[in-house]
C-alpha cells in the first residue's frame, strides 16, 4: 500500500499530573511527513517525541491544533497505522506465530489465513523455526523482529517507531537497522522514527527533525541526501555523513544541554 502523508499543525498536548498540575509535553509543534518518506525525530530526553507518535497513532488526542493523516483529522486510530514500541510490546502469552498472526485475525481473517500470512512474515524477519516459541524464550533482538513482523503484516501505510532498537546491543542494532531499511524499501510506507541517537537517525532517514527540550516543538529540519540503498554499518564513514552530523549536532547540542541542566536541577531539588 502506498504511504500516507502526516501533518501536524500547531499541535499542543498537555497532561494532568497526579498532583493536580498541568504538564505541557509539546507546544505548537508543526511538522509534515510526505507519503513514503522516512522521517527521523531526534531530541533530548523528555522533549515529547513519544507524545508526538501517540498523537499521530490516535492513542492520544491533541489538546490544541490539528493532526492529519492522509489529509483527514485523526479521531481514533487511523487505518493503516503500525506502531513499534520502545519496550517489549509483544504478547508474552502468545507464541511467535500467535503474535504475528494477531493483526490479520483482529482484521477479520480466519485463523488459517492469518497463520499462513504470519508464516511468510516470520520467514521475512528471519525467525523461521521459532514459530512455537514464547517471547521469554527469545533474545531481545528476536523479540524486536517479532514486533516488526507483527506491525508490518498489517501492511501499514504509516509506521511509527518509538526508539525501537534502543534496548539492543550495538551489533544487533546495526543488523536490525539494515533489515528495517530493506523491509521498508519493499513496503514504501511513511515512517516516523523517534530516537535519541543522532547517528541512527541520519543513517536511516530521508529527513531529520530536531525537537527542542520540553515542551517540545520543532527546532529545525534537515534533509539527509545520502544515496540509497544504504548500509548502516558503513554509511557513517562517508564524509557527507559527518557534514550532516555536524550541522544537526550544532542545533541539537543546545537542547541536550538545556535538558541536562534541568535534570540536574530537578535532581538537586
Amino acid at each position: 500500500m502506498a504511504g500516507a502523508g502526516i501533518e501536524l499543525r500547531k499541535v499542543t498536548k498537555r497532561f494532568a499530573t497526579p498532583k493536580g498540575g498541568i504538564y505541557t509535553a509539546i507546544r505548537d509543534l508543526s511538522m509534515e511527513v510526505a507519503p513514503g518518506e522516512f522521517c527521523a525525530v531526534v531530541g533530548p530526553t523528555g522533549c515529547g517525541k513519544s507524545t508526538t507518535l501517540a498523537l499521530v497513532s490516535g492513542l492520544e488526542r491533541a489538546s490544541a491544533g490539528e493532526v492529519l493523516v492522509s489529509g483527514q483529522p485523526v479521531s481514533g486510530i487511523p487505518d493503516g497505522i503500525g506502531y513499534v514500541f520502545q519496550g517489549d510490546a509483544v504478547f508474552p502469552w502468545k507464541t511467535v506465530l500467535g503474535n504475528v498472526a494477531a493483526g490479520p485475525r483482529y482484521g477479520g481473517a480466519s485463523t488459517g489465513d492469518a497463520n499462513k500470512q504470519a508464516q511468510q512474515w516470520i520467514a521475512r524477519v528471519g525467525l523461521s523455526g521459532f514459530e512455537d516459541r514464547y517471547p521469554h524464550q527469545l533474545s531481545g533482538g528476536m523479540r524486536k523482529r517479532v514486533g516488526l513482523a507483527q506491525s508490518l503484516i498489517n501492511n501499514p501505510r504509516i509506521l511509527l517507531m518509538d526508539e525501537p532498537f534502543s534496548a539492543l546491543d550495538v551489533q544487533t542494532r546495526t543488523l536490525m537497522e539494515n533489515e528495517l531499511l530493506a523491509l521498508w524499501a519493499a513496503t514504501s510506507a511513511s515512517v516516523v522514527f523517534v530516537t535519541h541517537d543522532l547517528e541512527e537517525a541520519i543513517a536511516l532517514a530521508d529527513r531529520v527533525v530536531v525537537m527542542t527540550a520540553g515542551p517540545g516543538t520543532v527546532k529545525g529540519t534537515f534533509a539527509v541526501d545520502l544515496p540509497r540503498p544504504r548500509n548502516v554499518a558503513e554509511i557513517r564513514f562517508q564524509p557527507r555523513f559527518a557534514q550532516i552530523y555536524e550541522a544537526i549536532w550544532s542545533q541539537l547540542r543546545d537542547e541536550v544541554l538545556v535538558s541536562y541542566e534541568r535534570q540536574k536541577h530537578a535532581a538537586a531539588v
Binding site: 486510530i77 503500525g82 517489549d88 504478547f91 508474552p92 502469552w93 483482529y106 533474545s139 528476536m142 498489517n154
Partner: protein, 309 residues
C-alpha cells in the same frame, strides 16, 4: 543471532590473538566441558535436595518426639494437648473401624464436596466481577465502598445465617466457602486487570483489536497470573468455610467430626481431624499448581532456587 548465543566466556582465554576464534562453533573439547559442568551442577542440586529432605525429617522427629516425650513424662497433661501416638491410634481406628459419624472417607468426601462447590462458585464469581469492575471504571467507583465494607466484616459469622437459610444441606457450608473465596479472587482479578501493561493494550488496539478481543486476548491472559495466585490461597479458605459451616450445623463432615471430638474432650481426635484436613488441602494445592503450570506455560519456568511456599 548465532553470535549472541556463542561460546561461553571462559573460551576466549585461549583465543586472545584473534577475535575470530571466539566466534567459532564450540569445539568438542568445550562441549565436553559443558556437559561435565552441567553434570556437576545436577549432582550439587541433588545433594542439596537430599539435605533439605533430611532436615525436614529431622524437624518432624524433633517436633513430634518432644511432644510425645513431654506428654509421656507427664510434663504436660496429654488430656489437654494430645499425644502423637494417640493421634495415630485415633486415625487408625477411624480408618479401620470408622468414626462416630460413619466411615472416615465419607466425612472427608462430604467436606471436600462442600469446599469444592464453594470454591468453584466463589472463584467464578470473583473472576467475573473482578474483570467486570476492572474494565468498567464507573462500576468500580460506585461499588467500591460496598465491597470494601463487605470485605471488612468477619464473614465467617455469615455461616450461622446460611445455616438458617439452607438448613443442614450442603449449600449452607458451600455458601460460607463462597463468601470467603469470592473476595480473595475478586481483589486479585481486579488488580490483575488494572495492572495490565499499557503498552500491550496500546499495541493490541493499534493492531486492530476491538473491545471484546482486548478483554479475551489481552486482559484475561494477563490477569491470569494474579487470578491463579489467588486460587492457591482461596482453596484453603474454601476448606475453612466448609468446616466453619459444619460447626453451625451438620450431620457429617470433618468439621463436624472435629466438633464432636472437641465436645467429648477427645483432643487426639481434634488433631487427627486436622491432620486429615491438612493432607486434603495439600493434595488440592498440588492439583492447583498443576493447573497453573498448564494454563500459563508461556511464563519463564521457575527459578530452581525459588522456595515453593
Amino acid at each position: 543471532m548465532s553470535a549472541q548465543g556463542g561460546a561461553p566466556p571462559f573460551d576466549s582465554v585461549g583465543t586472545q590473538d584473534g577475535a575470530t576464534g571466539a566466534l567459532a562453533t564450540p569445539t568438542a573439547a568445550s562441549a565436553s566441558i559443558d556437559s561435565e559442568l552441567s553434570a556437576r551442577r545436577a549432582a550439587a542440586a541433588r545433594r542439596r535436595r537430599l539435605v533439605i529432605y533430611a532436615l525436614r525429617v529431622a524437624f518432624t522427629i524433633l517436633w513430634l518426639g518432644s511432644w510425645e516425650l513431654s506428654t509421656r513424662l507427664n510434663w504436660v497433661d496429654p488430656f489437654f494437648v494430645g499425644q502423637p501416638s494417640g493421634v495415630v491410634q485415633r486415625l487408625w481406628t477411624w480408618i479401620t473401624e470408622g468414626t462416630a459419624l460413619g466411615p472416615l472417607w465419607l466425612q472427608a468426601a462430604v467436606t471436600m464436596q462442600e469446599a469444592v462447590v464453594g470454591f468453584l462458585i466463589g472463584a467464578a464469581l470473583g473472576v467475573v466481577f473482578g474483570i467486570l469492575l476492572g474494565r468498567i471504571e464507573v462500576l468500580a467507583e460506585v461499588l467500591s465502598p460496598f465491597i470494601k465494607g463487605a470485605n471488612a466484616i468477619p464473614r465467617v459469622v455469615l455461616g450461622s445465617l446460611f445455616a438458617v437459610m439452607f438448613g443442614l444441606s450442603l449449600w449452607g457450608k458451600a455458601a460460607t466457602a463462597v463468601v470467603l473465596v469470592f473476595f480473595v479472587v475478586f481483589f486479585n482479578a481486579f488488580q490483575g486487570v488494572r495492572e495490565v501493561d499499557r503498552n500491550l493494550i496500546a499495541n493490541a488496539r493499534i493492531l486492530g483489536a476491538d473491545n471484546r478481543r482486548l478483554t479475551t486476548e489481552i486482559i484475561i491472559p494477563s490477569a491470569m497470573t494474579w487470578i491463579l495466585a489467588s486460587l492457591h490461597i482461596s482453596f484453603g479458605l474454601a476448606i475453612v468455610g466448609a468446616v466453619v459451616g459444619e460447626l453451625f450445623g451438620a450431620t457429617a463432615g470433618l468439621g463436624q467430626l472435629i466438633y464432636n471430638a472437641g465436645h467429648t474432650f477427645d483432643v487426639n481426635g481434634v488433631f487427627a481431624g486436622m491432620f486429615v484436613l491438612a493432607v486434603l488441602a495439600l493434595i488440592a494445592e498440588g492439583l492447583i499448581s498443576a493447573l497453573e503450570n498448564r494454563l500459563i506455560k508461556w511464563r519463564p519456568s521457575r527459578v530452581s532456587g525459588e522456595i515453593p511456599i
